[in-house]
């Protein structure tokens, strides 16, 4: 009881409420009737961290290129539904529909598991 109180006090002192107010969340289901976003367009949003075409193999964030399709879907759904806590992926996976996650999986699983800089372009 005392601890709960202390935690609440700590949170209010540090201004949690102000932070919570800035969070916005609209379910991706809202956009269902819009034309689809392709797997590649979705995937291009991942590259700033996971590398161009998801093909950076020597970083903290794992490569996505050539990732097994089912593994990709399973992990992303776990992130989306927060059954698997993560540093940042819960917040990211939240934004996509399950269809979009499958399209990303199709896209990344079709790419070679080779570092981007070692790939030939066309």
């Amino acid at each position: 009881m005392l601890r709960q109180f202390l935690v609440a006090l700590l949170l209010s002192l540090t201004g949690l409420h102000a932070a919570a107010e800035t969070d916005i969340f609209i379910s991706p289901e809202k956009y269902r009737a819009d034309p689809p976003v392709s797997g590649q367009v979705l995937g291009d949003n991942c590259s700033a961290c996971h590398g161009t075409r998801g093909a950076v193999f020597d970083e903290i964030m794992p490569p996505l290129a050539g990732m097994d399709r089912d593994t990709f879907i399973k992990l992303m759904l776990n992130f989306k539904f927060a059954t698997r806590p993560s540093i940042v992926m819960n917040d990211i996976a939240n934004a996509y529909t399950e269809d979009e996650i499958r399209r990303m999986a199709d896209y990344f699983s079709s790419l070679p598991a080779v570092p981007w800089k070692a790939q030939s372009l066309h």
Partner: protein
């Protein structure tokens, strides 16, 4: 929902206030000799696996290494049931920047330096006590199986099996299990030993071995011991 999570996080914080020792200045050598490592190993604190479980949760180790230390994808090694001394040494090496072959290791460094030696021993105890990840039967071409089991005397190449065991299940002291580990992980580490980018091995043992392997052999050996995870 988010608020609930926040509250549980800050409870963790309050529980862990006494684990925050970041600096642990230690006169650790730049490379391990058998002597210096064995001395360090004897000084390894007794690990508390229940505390280790708590710390693993706090550090989100499961993100890459899986819920109970069985890696969910090909990107990171499994830890469940791994050799305890190896786990401790690994964490210590990350903390002290002795293992810094690529940027993945910087993540481990950033995390390990938030822990003190007791924490590292507790984490090692926790993962060592978990149910080991599934065993596989190593398989590959006859030539690669021969290399793994018999080595290559002409190149002064010790067989993998002589330290890691006939099935790659691990050996004495800090020799880790490699059987059923991720292919990408095994391949990466062998390449880093070959190039010398990874240099935390005792008496440069792995570097001597990997140095004479071709890239093709490294690839084949990694496949030989790896699981089938893609």
């Amino acid at each position: 929902m988010k608020t609930l999570l926040l509250i549980s996080f800050s409870m963790l914080t309050t529980l862990s206030l006494n684990n925050q020792a970041v600096a642990d200045p230690d006169t650790q050598p730049k490379a391990w000799s058998a002597d210096s490592w064995h001395q360090q190993m004897r000084l390894m604190p007794k690990g508390d696996l229940y505390r280790g479980a708590q710390l693993a949760k706090q550090g989100y180790c499961f993100t890459c290494h899986g819920e109970k230390g069985y890696a969910p994808s090909r990107n990171a090694p499994s830890l469940a049931g791994q050799n305890q001394a190896y786990l401790y040494k690994t964490l210590l090496d990350f903390k002290n920047r002795l293992w810094l072959a690529d940027h993945k290791d910087e993540g481990m460094h950033d995390l390990a330096r938030t822990f003190d030696k007791q924490d590292l021993a507790d984490l090692a105890a926790y993962y060592a006590a978990q149910k080991p990840w599934p065993k596989i039967t190593p398989s590959g071409s006859p030539a690669i199986a021969h290399l793994a089991k018999r080595g290559d005397p002409q190149r002064l190449l010790t067989p993998c099996a002589s330290c890691h065991g006939a099935q790659g299940m691990g050996g004495p002291n800090e020799t880790p299990r490699i059987n059923g580990q991720s292919y990408l992980y095994l391949k990466r580490q062998l390449s880093y030993f070959k190039s010398g980018k990874r240099s935390n091995d005792v008496e440069a043992g792995m570097r001597f071995a990997a140095e004479v392997l071709s890239e093709e052999e490294i690839d084949q050996l990694a496949r030989y011991y790896a699981n089938s995870q893609k």
